[in-house]
Symmetry: C4
Subunit: 263 residues, 4 copies
């Protein structure tokens, strides 16, 4: 067995089933979780000031590891049948979703050395969050939710459009009703829409509250409609989840009671 194939098997426990590959997998999951924690904690001034050096070194360490992983993956990916071709296969892997996530999650570090505007750098730093998506490679369980959402995306889109429809109507009516009484707060329809979302989703921050009797009456109706609003996606996703969970079981049970054949 070639050395490239051995490296490939260490990176793909799902394919090779090697114990050492599993340990490497757990190491990567741990490293990614620590990275996500670090990205968040270094924004806390108290932590960053005290542990600045640790955060910086951990970032360098992580980028080095992820870069090595990235290079090894590109080098060994030709062991996979789908990416067999040394040139075309590697290029296709680099442009695949998984490959782009790997690339962009380490890119911000290397951009530090380029003479580009600092403001842009801040936005590129957000790319570091892509490291979180690297974990999706290891967690197949999350796929259930993504599959259900993908499966019902049309119906969910209709619900979102319906909510948006409602929001436009609510915000426009409320602006003309409550605006004259509180011109500073309900200052425009887009501003009123912020209140409309907070009420329809029952978040209710309390930074904008109607004070007129008619405004409160309308707000009450909107809040009750909001209760119904929860029912629509609940119905859609509930049906989607039980369909997914039962599909296996049902396949077994779907047998005609008369002739015994599978349906």
């Amino acid at each position: 067995m070639s050395f490239r194939k051995r490296v490939f098997e260490q990176l793909e426990p799902a394919v090779s089933g090697l114990r050492s590959a599993r340990i490497i997998e757990y190491f990567f999951i741990g490293l990614i979780i620590c990275n996500i924690a670090a990205i968040q904690l270094e924004t806390v001034p108290r932590f960053y000031e005290r542990y600045q050096r640790f955060f910086d070194n951990f970032e360098i360490f992580s980028v080095v590891i992820f870069s090595i992983e990235y290079v090894l993956r590109i080098w060994t990916i030709t062991e996979m049948l789908r990416y067999k071709n040394p040139m075309k296969g590697r290029f296709r892997y680099i442009m695949s979703r998984s490959g782009l996530i790997d690339l962009f999650s380490i890119l911000p570090f290397y951009l530090n050395f380029l003479p580009i505007d600092l403001r842009w750098l801040r936005i590129f730093r957000l790319f570091r969050l892509l490291r979180m998506l690297k974990i999706a490679r290891y967690l197949s369980a999350l796929n259930l939710i993504f599959a259900v959402i993908k499966d019902r995306r049309e119906q969910l889109m209709v619900v979102i459009m319906f909510i948006f429809f409602l929001l436009v109507i609510i915000a426009t009516v409320m602006f003309y009703v409550e605006g004259p009484a509180q011109p500073e707060v309900f200052s425009s329809i887009p501003a009123t829409m912020w209140w409309g979302i907070a009420t329809l989703t029952t978040v209710g921050y309390g930074d904008m509250v109607p004070i007129t009797a008619l405004g409160k009456f309308l707000a009450g109706i909107i809040a009750i409609i909001g209760v119904g609003m929860y029912a629509l996606p609940a119905g859609i996703l509930s049906a989607g989840i039980s369909d997914h969970l039962n599909s296996h079981r049902t396949n077994k049970e779907k047998r005609c009671p008369h002739c015994g054949k599978d349906l």
Copy 2:
């Protein structure tokens, strides 16, 4: 083919299936979305001051287009079997829901030229929102939700009546419990009802909060009842949605594909 029929086919892509008619459809959907955006953005003083001229010209442009569309639709509607009669058919179309929406959504503009009170004009401006309903002509997907709500309207009405029942009881009891401690806030039963809605729907603005021990105890019970309140419409609409989605599928599947017998 008559010129009138050609115009009719350009306006009804669902009937004619013409590619040019599809493009006209997309143009109208885009124009309606821009109109809704404009109606909302022109209430933001910052935008209106700077782009007043653009908003005014866009309004004139839109009304001209919608007026032409309205006139063409009335002229060509006799091509449809239902509205065949030149006089009666056209009158029935004008008085149909679709016809009235088209009329009232352009009416506010023309009312500007009439010598009527400005205050009334403000209310008529709300009619411009009806342009949003014009989009419903193109979006059949929204009909699922409307159909489900229509299908279950009796049960939903019962839930709304039940919520109203609860609200009256809650507000009356809470007024006598919390009123003496906060006479300025829980000043009357209708005022307390505003708090009741915010609590029962779990919006919780925080502009009215009980401070007595008994008041907090009752508010806690009401909030927990509110949790149950979400379950009622969720159950009704969930059942309605899955009924609608499964009705087609079930009809097909309720037959054994091997022996042809109903299951």
Copy 3:
């Protein structure tokens, strides 16, 4: 037909099916709705001061009507088979739920003339709300919800107990975590329980908010548990509603496909 029977038929449209009885029914529903509105509106000082006389007269008018209805019902109830016995039957009707509601909803008015403490009178005034329950006699639709709740009361009780369990644990832990930092706000476990309810039910008034890092972390977990909390009654009541709605339909469909007999 005796005069008593005629009066009885006018009071019971469901039994007699008379058109004039239906009109009397609608009159009573209207009167009850006006009464509920009056009870609420007379607590608004602005209204009461201006229309005091109207409210007082309307109350006298209502009590007179309801008293006549009460006396007529007791007089004619012997026409019903269940309450046939002139003495025992009438007494049983007076002590029935419907009879007691009718009595207590007019009692506060007559207590005005007795030399009793005014404070007690205020509490008795709450009995006037019982008039709302009189309407339940006419609205059979509300019975679906009451039936579902009664049907699933054991499971709902378990959920309420579970929520109470959670609340005690949450409040106790949060008191020891957040209490030292905000001794004025999280002053005792019962006080913290108020915060716990507002968070678990996602009402979120904002009058009590944790400020320590550990407190916020715990609050976040509690809020996410609260999301799950909505699922339990939703599941129970959803199942209950669809069971009730389908029971009729299912009865028809529940036929054995082998021998064709009802199951």
Copy 4:
């Protein structure tokens, strides 16, 4: 019958079915409820100052009763087949969940007499809450919920992970969007995560509210996603509850009562 067996039967009404054992059971349930109430009420300074002596005596009384119960249970547990062995059986019972709860719920009292740091004592006082779990021995109904949650724990874990995923993305993006405008409020990603939880779960305390247009736009989308978030556990737990409730019924009904064949 030995005296030990008689004592055992008095402690286990579910095994013996004795009436006197049922009364002892109700006494313990009552005592536990009073204990939970006392633990909470003694944190209210107003109550504790006035009734300090009562609270202290009640605690001593309760600990004495629970200690006697604990000793009797260990003494008599050998009557149970599972714990038959006098030494090993008793040790296994002491280390069982039920045995540990009994021990730790009385331990804080005895630790008072040991010369240990007072601060540790405060934490040990939390163990008194374990007395609440003693009640679970008597309430089999709560087991339904625990069973459903245990049954669906994998799917619920996936939902919690998904929520956590969303939270990290939301908090990071919102920190870079809203942080520059409100550096004191959205001061770091963990601080923003507190806002993210309050919005995603629709608690909406209102202590942190975005003020920029882009921040409000993102917050609106997050709140609408939060609506969908409620649907996932609702779907999972609904399916779990109805599975549990129907499993018994379905087994019985899946047979034609006339011809005896499975449907």
